[in-house]
């Protein structure tokens, strides 16, 4: 039907995307079921390129007349927008567009597991967390899943069906004592099935680990602000790769003047560093950021953003790929049917090296071992700041005490230039939650562990 609706179109380009999303969300907090929701959001999003400008419209009425109405509205919007556009969109880069059906790798589909089972799992995890430690007074446990079905057709020949399943789970434990409170979280998140979700840890273990960490943090001291040698485990490597580097190489941001503009071919990192973005990573078929085909119909590929320290590629949709005379990278993504595709990352990570974590720690006289990505933000000049869940002091090659309230900061390229060792154990580990850029997106990131220099955010003596 989408193909038929497109037949009347006479502009430069148009695409139609049917997207049905069914999601489930279960949340227990302090012994109370706060949310048990089922959501269905379905409709057709239509994007048109007319007079060198874009227009978008959508409909939740799945009938031919309504979809054709949306196409007319998108055309109209494009024509209006084109009046005040100074440089017209010249076209879209050619690439072989997807046809056929695409399915993620799924071990034990989540629909084989009943709502009761999922609800009990959340209830039990919260109970475990609360009962485990006397310090933990309160806990939250959440299971959620996104089940997507898309059908996309565009006037350049893409015609495909895409299925996607992204379950996630987390436990959040709050420890408190004498008015002092601290929280710790443990998470699991994948593209795939039930077995894939628990591939590293069972939910009960995550609950116990969150508790244990919250309890230890409650009795930990704050870090001091200083510049230091740090070993970042894969979750934090993922956060740097995504937030601090990844956003600065999104071609829309590059064209606006981000720090990487005009720097292709320049050495921006240690030669140990190869940083990639992939919607279908060969290293891990269950990345939360997996996108087998993007919403413009470009099949997933592995883009080497930085290769042996040299900036090699930006992340493109078909429009920016034409501007840069290169190929699109499969990064045009829309979150719901009501959103137009924009350049987003998928799984962004640093390829593993050849060091064991023990070897990396051994050589450090004074420094920190850091694990677990909290919130993070980065800037147009690649300055970043991330919260670290667990930071341990390293002294003379030995891991010492845990510290709390720690952030790491710095300029991401300076940090990557200082890398002198990369770990051999690879993980994608930042998949819970969403990346926001006007729309939300599921992304992932990781790598091997990195040893580098960064700034520790902490307290100054008064």
């Amino acid at each position: 039907m989408l193909r038929k609706c497109l037949s009347s179109f006479s502009g430069d380009y148009a695409e139609m995307r049917f997207h049905e999303r069914k999601s489930t969300y279960i949340r227990i907090a302090a012994g109370e079921l706060e949310d048990a929701s089922y959501l269905k959001n379905a409709g057709v999003g239509v994007r048109a390129l007319v007079n060198g400008s874009w227009g978008f419209s959508s409909t939740n009425v799945l009938e031919r007349s309504a979809i054709e109405g949306s196409l007319r509205d998108a055309e109209k919007a494009a024509k209006v927008a084109s009046q005040n556009r100074t440089e017209k969109v010249e076209g879209l880069a050619d690439v072989k567009l997807a046809r056929g059906a695409f399915h993620p790798v799924v071990n034990d589909p989540i629909e084989n597991h009943s709502l009761e089972e999922k609800m009990n799992l959340v209830i039990e995890a919260e109970k475990t967390a609360k009962d485990e430690s006397k310090d933990v007074k309160s806990a939250i446990s959440v299971y959620s899943e996104l089940v997507d079905r898309k059908m996309v057709a565009n006037t350049d020949g893409a015609e495909f069906e895409l299925h996607d399943v992204k379950p996630e789970f987390y436990v959040y434990a709050v420890a408190s004592e004498n008015g002092d409170r601290v929280a710790a979280a443990k998470t699991a998140s994948v593209t795939g099935g039930w077995k894939d979700l628990w591939r590293r840890n069972e939910p009960q273990q995550l609950a116990l680990d969150a508790c244990d960490l919250a309890s230890k943090l409650l009795h930990a001291k704050h870090a001091k602000g200083e510049s230091a040698t740090v070993i970042l485990e894969p979750s934090l490597v993922g956060l740097i790769s995504h937030e601090a580097i990844g956003h600065t190489v999104e071609a829309d941001f590059v064209l606006s003047g981000s720090i990487t503009k005009g720097k292709l071919g320049q050495k921006l990192a240690s030669e140990l560093v190869t940083l990639v973005d992939s919607g279908n990573p060969p290293e891990d078929s269950h990345g939360t950021g997996n996108v087998l085909v993007d919403d413009e119909g470009v099949p997933a590929r592995t883009t080497r953003i930085i290769e042996d320290g040299v900036l090699k590629s930006y992340l493109h949709d078909r429009e920016t790929a034409l501007i840069f005379k290169t190929e699109p990278t499969g990064n045009a993504r829309a979150f719901e049917y009501t959103d137009e595709p924009i350049i987003r990352m998928t799984n962004t990570y640093i390829l593993p090296g050849d060091h064991s974590l023990e070897e990396m720690i051994e050589d450090v006289k004074e420094g920190y071992l850091m694990r677990g990505a909290g919130g993070g933000q980065a800037d147009s000049n690649a300055e970043f700041m991330f919260e670290v869940d667990e930071a341990y002091r390293i002294e003379k090659g030995e891991v010492k005490e845990l510290l709390r309230g720690v952030t790491i900061n710095g300029q991401a390229f300076d940090v990557l230039k200082s890398v002198d060792a990369i770990g051999k154990d690879f993980l994608l580990d930042i998949g819970v939650g969403y990346c926001g850029k006007f729309q939300r997106a599921k992304v992932d990131g990781g790598g091997g562990a990195l040893r580098c220099r960064a700034i520790i955010g902490g307290r100054q003596e008064g």
């Binding site: 949310d35 089922y38 978008f56 309160s138 002092d180 147009s380 000049n381 700041m385 955010g457």
Partner: protein
């Protein structure tokens, strides 16, 4: 055929009760969005779309179930009701879980502007262009990464099986602009501004565009500074990003009851410096955070939250209020996609008696923060993040913009370290905030 929002809610309630729900509630919203967005110094895309949907909350022997569909046909609403009842059958019961009865609701004026019906894509384009052009014209070094102007007109309704029935039409014209300044190899920190109004004749985008341009241009040529513990001056944006989230979280009765709030058990105690007064009022005509009724169909109650440093009230919805045998304060919040939560409406931090210039002029050594990059932990109150658009102040003078500077501390502690609040306030979406000066903040530069 799509039902109107009020009829959709009534149908959902009827259907859910037929399917066995003890109580049921429908909350529906529908409307039209016209949006013109900006990307890399250009008009990017025009969007126009109609959206509608309903959330069905059911209670079955005190167990909760919820389902939502973006479709107001009877067939889909019935499916949602069935899903919600199915979830409730499997959910554990929750003490005190009941829907509220009806309460009289007075209409808040100024939420809907009839001229919004005639607002076109051309009008949205004109405003988006003005937003972009004002920032670019301010200084050629300004680059606008992204932004949009959006016009939203719609109607929402809530109906429950205990007699609540309310609906309301509203509109909002909002904009966002995000950009930075570039001079040779020097790329400033990015910054953003956003704002909005409900009246067509009050649409104004230039202030945001100029404020953005001024901040990013001023942060070019930033230098490193030294580490110290001392004074920081927060602009209203930073007050909203750094202080407000901790106050909002800690006064949420759900967080209080679940042992997560730093304000638990501290009503009528001093939690902040005397200069600080915070209140919430969802009934102010025409404001973005206002509405005639909350997510459960109850009227908002204007509430003092902190008065001269003393904690006065927490925010309640029906469920959290029942647990303490009190009445909801009308702070149930949320949309069609989940059960009601709790949030402030129009949160206002009252002005102080200082001029902005004197806040700076009295500072021997300190840092002005235009944007804080980081998220305070609302549970512990700890924060540690990067100072953006920062300025070093020495002997009462702004010296130079600073970079790679971090600020850290604890919001609960710093609420008692307020040494000045400005007379001037800014309205930022549904917030009103002044400039706030704090002492004893850790500033790190390496």
């Amino acid at each position: 055929m799509m039902l109107d929002v009020l009829d959709a809610c009534k149908y959902a309630v009827k259907k859910a009760v037929e399917l066995g729900a003890t109580e049921a509630e429908g909350f529906a919203a529908g409307g039209k969005e016209i949006n013109v967005s900006i990307e890399r110094n250009e008009i990017k895309i025009g969007k126009s779309q109609e959206l509608s949907g309903i959330g069905v909350r059911v209670i079955l022997d005190r167990s909760l179930g919820f389902a939502s569909v973006n479709d107001l046909t009877k067939a889909e609403i019935a499916k949602a009701a069935e899903k919600a009842v199915g979830l409730a059958k499997r959910a554990p019961p929750l003490k005190f879980n009941e829907l509220p009865g009806a309460k009289s609701v007075s209409k808040v004026e100024g939420l809907y502007d009839p001229r919004s019906k005639d607002f076109t894509m051309d009008d949205a384009l004109e405003n988006a262009t003005k937003l972009l052009k004002t920032a670019k014209d301010y200084d050629p070094r300004v680059t606008v990464d992204s932004g949009y102007f959006s016009a939203d007109v719609g109607r929402s309704a809530v109906v429950n099986s205990s007699g609540v029935e309310a609906s309301e039409e509203a509109c909002a014209f909002t904009h966002v602009i995000l950009g930075m300044a570039v001079e040779g190899d020097d790329v400033s920190s990015f910054d953003y501004r956003f704002n909005g109004t409900r009246r067509v004749d009050e649409i104004e985008v230039e202030t945001s565009a100029r404020a953005l341009a001024e901040t990013v241009v001023n942060s070019l040529g930033a230098k490193k500074t030294e580490s110290f513990k001392g004074t920081v001056i927060l602009n209203p944006n930073t007050v909203v990003d750094l202080l407000a989230p901790v106050i909002v979280f800690s006064t949420n009765s759900n967080a209080v009851q679940k042992g997560m709030s730093g304000f638990a058990g501290r009503i009528d105690e001093k939690v902040a410096s005397e200069e600080l007064t915070v209140r919430d009022d969802g009934l102010i005509p025409g404001r973005l955070g206002s509405s005639s009724f909350d997510r459960e169909g109850l009227p908002h109650r204007p509430l003092p939250i902190i008065e001269k440093g003393v904690l006065k009230n927490f925010l309640y919805n029906t469920l959290t209020a029942r647990k303490e045998e009190r009445e909801s304060t009308g702070h149930a919040s949320g949309g069609i996609s989940g059960p009601p939560r709790i949030a402030p409406t129009n949160l206002m931090i009252e002005p102080g008696d200082a001029e902005i210039d004197s806040l700076i002029g009295e500072t021997t050594k300190g840092v002005i923060i235009s944007r804080f990059s980081g998220v305070p932990d609302p549970i512990s109150g700890d924060f540690s993040g990067a100072v953006k658009g920062g300025y070093l102040v020495e002997n009462g003078e702004k010296v130079n913009p600073i970079r790679e500077t971090l600020a850290a501390g604890n919001v609960f502690e710093l609420l008692n370290e307020i040494s000045g609040i400005s007379k001037e306030t800014e309205r930022i979406m549904s917030f009103i905030a002044p400039w706030v000066r704090l002492e004893n903040v850790s500033v790190t530069s390496v």
